[in-house]
Amino acid sequence: AQSVTQLDSQVPVFEEAPVELRCNYSSSVSVYLFWYVQYPNQGLQLLLKYLSGSTLVKGINGFEAEFNKSQTSFHLRKPSVHISDTAEYFCAVSEWGGGFKTIFGAGTRLFVKA
């Protein structure tokens, strides 16, 4: 069985500061990893994904994430955040096992302060 743990439920940060949102997962098979962002009163949209290849993946809006297989982590980073980055961020893991299933983490609320 797979699970996704987002270690921080809320992350407050000042504008232009760096941020890291942490995600760990557990799975016994190969996985595909995603970060989605949800702005208030909207649906989720894809920030970035890791399917294979380079473990450092870059996404939209200046975000990047690094896949670490030994630590089963996929942390999301941005070197300098903006007020507009305030949103809920979801880590998701997909795998084949009795069909193709995707499990989402509980979400991390990023709150950027002026």
Partner: protein
């Protein structure tokens, strides 16, 4: 053009009523999903359809019945609504994971259901 659309955006109803939420995608995807997001933002898969066939049916009360009249539509009908059904329901779509390397899902704007 909206890629994944849902109607209605808001739905307020009383316990015991029956209601439906409609979802349409114009991305040409084969696979569609329904998710429930609770008040703590936790997102849980309810159903998954591929080419109008039910693929995933998680532990959901049988009061919830999805219907896919064609590949572009996946509707959700809920009978005998209960207070605990209050949540935001998201429809999503993707290419068929079995035949595509594009696994990301595209989400609709959500339907906020309030049961009083």
């Amino acid at each position: 053009d909206t890629a994944v659309s849902q109607t209605p955006k808001y739905l307020v109803t009383q316990m015991g009523n029956d209601k439906s939420i409609k979802c349409e995608q114009n991305l040409g995807h084969d696979t569609m999903y329904w998710y429930k997001q609770d008040s703590k933002k936790f997102l849980k898969i309810m159903f998954s359809y591929n080419n109008k066939e039910l693929i995933i049916n998680e532990t959901v009360p049988n009061r919830f019945s999805p219907k896919s009249p064609d590949k572009a539509h996946l509707n959700l009908h809920i009978n005998s609504l209960e207070l605990g059904d209050s949540a935001v329901y998201f429809c999503a779509s993707s290419q068929d994971p079995a035949s595509s390397q594009e696994y990301e899902q595209y989400f609709g704007p959500g339907t906020r259901l309030t049961v009083t």
